[in-house]
Symmetry: C2
Subunit: 321 residues, 2 copies
């Protein structure tokens, strides 16, 4: 059994190479560029962890892990275009550096390359792996589309936001674990549990992300506080407050969102606190973390095999004390 | 055995349905929209023809034909963004109608949906089919990138242009036929011949396309003549003329391309004629058409099985008389 950190090291070593042909470098250099910006590699390592939960790591798991990481980077390239983001991990985004047209194509080529890696695996699991990969890939696109739709929607309900977040960020984590579990020979019920573990963990992580953007310690999380508030982003905090505040506070919040005064962040934070959105959000996060861990309980393998996933859950999501 | 027209009817009947889920309609309606603009459906019908050259049509061929048509439409959506094209088949392009971000995502979802159809086929040919599909998909992206690169390149050689055109437009026709041949149980050498038939035919068609844009009959081809000349597009005619004209004529051509006078089209056409680019282009087209038909000769099946492909070749490419 390996810890997350050990598996990360093993994966990085295999992944740290050129994944594209040398020719037509005007297409493939931009694709390779974003891979060089690194990243946490949580998803590909989750493929390996999903495998190792049930059996020793099958060489095919590395192909799938690579495919998952390429898919993730494909979605980053295209999302950055849509979000008009100038920077990613402190470096120029692909479209900023190489132009939008090339970024669209480099993303396309990255997605196709992901399938190239999937096709390398032995035939016995190929169909099942591709089906889960395709289903997840479409869900991630749906999540991104809903996220864009919500920017133009005034009222987004908690359920709608939860669904969007699940599609946009959680299903890929969940599927990564299940893809590994399939290769590890897990039976269907265990595949389901490990998928649900990942899905709930992903949601908990996103709730924490929303919370930290408002109430985090800027020096600890390495970015300015209140970015979501300034951009009027729908977040768990915002949606809870809009749904539960008194009519007077709701009006005040909407006024702040329209008028953007210089003390907008402080005032919105105060409204969040007044409506107890902060403690509610922390409880919600704990609820999803617990739900994730509960799914692990239901998997019939030795407790020691689960230890790395339990540690991963606690390192990604800090429990509220 | 069926003619192209008969197979087109069979394919259209199966293809004429919604290919995407009903929910997240803001993503999938735009994807479905472009499919409703129809098109010649040459590529998916070629899958069926490639199959029927060797055996009765296998139900899996329809899944592959659908995947090929979805892939083609994915590339159209993304290419139209890059080319800033307002219209496609006389209707608004996806990005014009739904915005660029949605068009990027709808293309992505279309590509993933293509793989969904491929995964439906029986496992015995799945790996081989996916490998050819992936290889071709990447080549199409490379072709589009090279086409964009050439817009910024002053000197593009004949070989470079031929390579770009082959990647951008011919390999998908070639692969469609081979994908069908694989499903039809063709052996490797026959798969190769049918691929090369499609590749050469695609090149001949593109040469004809370049020729007609300059020397065609506007009322017959249904568009204005000289669009490529006005846009200074590198075409077979232009490249031949730039490579073979006397220094004086080369200078004159470059001047016309820079200064864009009102009689640019006539004057460039005259230069093409002076350098015999028109007859050279027609000979080149015939050469590739002959090369395509020669590949068919080398396939060891009854001549009657080849008849529909021979007719397709002659209907796509008119021989110079």
């Amino acid at each position: 059994m390996h810890s997350f950190t050990q598996l990360l090291g093993i994966f990085e070593e295999k992944f740290d190479k050129r994944h594209f042909p040398a020719h037509t470098s005007s297409l493939y250099d931009p694709a390779q560029y974003i891979l060089g910006l690194k990243g946490k590699r949580v998803r590909p390592v989750c493929v390996l962890m999903g495998n190792e939960l049930f059996d020793e790591i099958n060489p095919d798991a590395y192909h799938i892990a690579t495919a998952v990481e390429l898919f993730h980077n494909f979605s980053l390239i295209h999302d950055d275009i849509m979000d008009k983001a100038p920077l990613r991990r402190g470096m120029e985004t692909v479209h900023t550096k190489y132009g939008e047209s090339t970024a669209i194509l480099a993303g396309d080529a990255m997605l196709i390359q992901a399938y190239e890696y999937l096709v390398k695996i032995k035939p016995d699991h190929l169909k099942k792996i591709l089906q889960l990969f395709n289903k997840t890939a479409k869900e991630v696109c749906e999540g991104q589309q809903l996220d864009m739709d919500f920017e133009k929607t005034e009222a987004v309900s908690f359920d709608e936001y939860l669904n969007m977040i699940t599609l946009k960020t959680s299903v890929l984590l969940a599927a990564s674990l299940q893809l590994g579990a399939i290769i590890g020979g897990a039976r269907e019920s265990n595949q389901h549990h490990v998928y649900e573990f990942g899905k709930n963990l992903g949601i908990a992580f996103q709730i924490q992300d929303d919370y930290l953007d408002a109430f985090g310690n800027a020096s600890l999380i390495g970015k300015q506080i209140g970015g979501d508030i300034l951009a009027n982003k729908k977040t768990f905090l915002m949606i809870h407050t809009l749904e539960n505040a008194s009519p007077i506070r709701q009006k005040e919040l909407k006024k702040l969102m329209t008028e953007n005064p210089s003390d907008k962040i402080e005032k919105v934070l105060q409204l969040f606190r007044d409506c107890k959105a902060d403690s509610w959000t922390n409880q919600l996060k704990d609820k999803y973390l617990e739900a994730a861990l509960k799914q692990l309980d239901d998997i019939a393998v030795l407790q020691s095999r689960k230890q790395p996933l339990i540690e991963l859950a606690h390192s990604l999501v800090k429990r509220d004390k």
